[in-house]
């Protein structure tokens, strides 16, 4: 546990406090007030992110602190944009955005060091920003999808039928599917941009590095999900939901376990 007394750190804690208030307002079904809290949280978060960019003099996506800061700051606006694109307007989705933001900001606020780091030569590529940014966007969308899939499983396991106005397992499964439809092209672009960058920086478009292989496994998991869902449609909502949740498990492994564990030594170790 590491408390941060830097300006970015204080802004992160302020954002977490506003998000917590927004979450409570959402639980109390005060939608207008919770939207206002979400907007305020976005402003505070973007200030922290912008300040970090000025401090480190490069786009703040280099290390785990910056990655979680970016994920936490952009979840609420990306969530809002996703609702516009997909037409998903469940109360659970808005509530989920507040909870996920708190979960993602926690490692930035309390776990990872915020010591500024300069970019090594390999990271000074025009592809660094786009590669990490599309990955972050896809992770946010796929995390939201997994939350919907989790709710789908929850309602599937409940024997009672949902009352009128309440959402069924199929509704949540469809929401998860639409969010994966948004996240998967971005996940693919992240993988391809990384491959092109690898060719330009290290001479190989595929290096068989543990991080690359976990990223591929992650991509294949969602590929499997799409083919599976095409085959069975919504006849097996539970299996569909499990695939989406497994996809997020693979993302967590790719993002955290591979970077932090000594088990996977590779050229992506600078991210830790």
């Amino acid at each position: 546990m590491q408390l941060k007394y830097s300006n970015e750190g204080i802004l992160i804690y302020a954002m977490m406090a506003v998000v917590a208030v927004g979450l409570m307002l959402r639980v109390m079904r005060k939608k207008q007030a919770s939207v206002f809290a979400a907007c305020l949280a976005c402003l505070v978060g973007l200030s922290a992110w912008g300040l970090r960019w000025i401090t480190v003099e490069h786009i703040p996506m280099q290390n785990m602190f910056e990655v979680f800061l970016t994920l936490g700051v952009f979840l609420l606006p990306v969530g809002l944009a996703a609702r516009r694109f997909t037409g998903i307007d469940h109360p659970s989705d808005g509530l989920g955005d507040f909870i996920l933001t708190l979960i993602l900001l926690f490692p930035a606020g309390f776990v990872f060091s915020d010591a500024p780091q300069k970019l090594p030569p390999a990271l000074q590529s025009p592809l660094f920003g786009p590669h990490v940014a599309v990955y972050m966007l896809s992770y946010v969308l796929l995390a939201k999808a997994a939350l919907q899939a989790g709710l789908g499983l929850y309602y599937h396991n409940r024997s009672a039928k949902p009352s009128s106005g309440q959402l069924s397992c199929e509704d949540h499964e469809l929401s998860a599917y639409l969010l994966v439809c948004l996240g998967f092209p971005l996940l693919s672009m992240g993988l391809f941009l990384g491959s092109v960058w690898g060719k330009l920086a290290w001479g190989d478009w595929w290096g068989w590095d543990p991080k690359e292989l976990w990223s591929l496994a992650c991509w294949l998991m969602y590929l499997f999900y799409f083919h599976w869902r095409y085959l069975f449609r919504q006849k097996m909502p539970r299996a569909n939901c499990v695939c989406v949740i497994l996809g997020l498990v693979f993302i967590i492994i790719t993002l955290l376990w591979v970077n932090l564990s000594n088990l996977f030594k590779g050229m992506h170790n600078y991210a830790s």
Partner: protein
């Protein structure tokens, strides 16, 4: 038949996913060997054939252009990977009757050129068919780097700060060392028939240090160390001293020129992320080092076979994915979303 192909495809994706996870635990080098082994080569070929069969068998892939692009993109990536693999390169070279040049390294000193690279796998020399000249090599640091003096002898290796005046104990057997003088432009002039070291005008640069080694029995030996002739061991000096810069590197750049039959054919300042492309090869800034002959740059020479196919596949796949899924989400939204 179509059902069979679809189920086989689904199983193949699951198996590839499991293989990727298995490979991640092997480490990069072992994973490379594993995924390039004969059984896995057969697997990749089978997987590509399955994809081609699915494109041929499913009418939906013909009617929906974006679905077709996605699957065709995957086929291109797999074909590019197979063609660019070691086996693919070897086969192409034997068909074309050309020497097979695989990934290799060039070690170049400023002002020198070489057409011999050393194979990455076993260090065997390879003739590139062209020569690469290193005109200049520069290292750029984020801040002013600190200079340290690396001292080496049979008794051990030590690193000391290069500031004047301080004395350091190396070891009980090696004795002590002291930095007596530091020079930013060392000049030697003769006084009464004896050479005397002094500081020259600031317009030139010849950084140097005068060290004094004191052996355990009290015998003192003085030794000059030059930055521009790093690692130069004077006869009779027991210690090899190399000045080294310590600091966060921002970039390292090799100014190179490529010659074929004595004529310059390409030139570029190669940096990390900015390789030179010539005659089917990419030449990369790999690393650098220093030895008794001075500072050198290490360049990596990599054939680009199959890369265009792979990147073409990425483009098709990306267009297909973005348009297909954007349409899909849009259709759902227009039908009332899922509120």
């Amino acid at each position: 038949m179509k059902n069979w192909i679809y189920h086989l495809g689904l199983a193949a994706i699951a198996v590839l996913c499991l293989l990727s996870i298995f490979g991640a635990f092997l480490g990069a080098e072992n994973a490379r060997a594993f995924f390039n082994s004969v059984p896995l080569a057969a697997w990749w070929i089978g997987f590509t054939i399955l994809l081609v069969m699915s494109i041929a068998a499913f009418r939906a892939l013909h009617n929906r252009s974006m679905l077709f692009l996605m699957h065709a993109g995957c086929v291109l990536i797999l074909l590019g990977g197979l063609w660019g693999s070691r086996a693919g390169q070897k086969m192409t070279a034997s068909i074309l009757g050309k020497p097979w040049i695989e990934s290799s390294y060039l070690k170049l000193y400023p002002g020198r050129q070489s057409s011999t690279a050393y194979r990455a796998t076993d260090g065997q020399p390879l003739d590139l068919g062209f020569s690469v000249a290193l005109n200049d090599f520069q290292i750029h640091y984020y801040d002013n780097p600190a200079t340290v003096l690396l001292i080496q002898s049979d008794l051990g290796q030590w690193e000391i700060p290069s500031g004047k005046g301080a004395e350091y104990l190396l070891s009980a057997r090696a004795g002590k060392v002291r930095v007596l003088e530091t020079f930013s432009n060392l000049k030697i002039r003769m006084e009464n028939g004896k050479p005397v070291a002094s500081e020259g005008p600031a317009v030139e640069s010849n950084p140097a240090w005068l060290l004094e080694f004191v052996s355990p029995d009290g015998r003192a030996t003085q030794q000059f160390v030059f930055e521009k002739f790093a690692g130069h061991a004077m006869p009779g000096y027991p210690f090899l001293v190399t000045p080294q810069k310590r600091g966060m590197i921002r970039d390292y750049i090799s100014d190179v020129q490529v010659f074929r039959d004595g004529h310059p054919v390409a030139a570029k300042q190669i940096e990390v992320n900015y390789p030179l492309h010539y005659a089917g090869f990419h030449i990369y800034q790999d690393s650098y080092g220093q030895d008794e002959m001075g500072q050198y740059s290490v360049l990596q020479v990599v054939p680009d076979q199959g890369v265009r196919l792979v990147f073409g596949g990425y483009v098709l796949l990306t267009i297909g994915l973005v348009v297909h899924f954007a349409r899909k989400v849009n259709t759902h939204r227009r039908h009332g979303g899922c509120s």
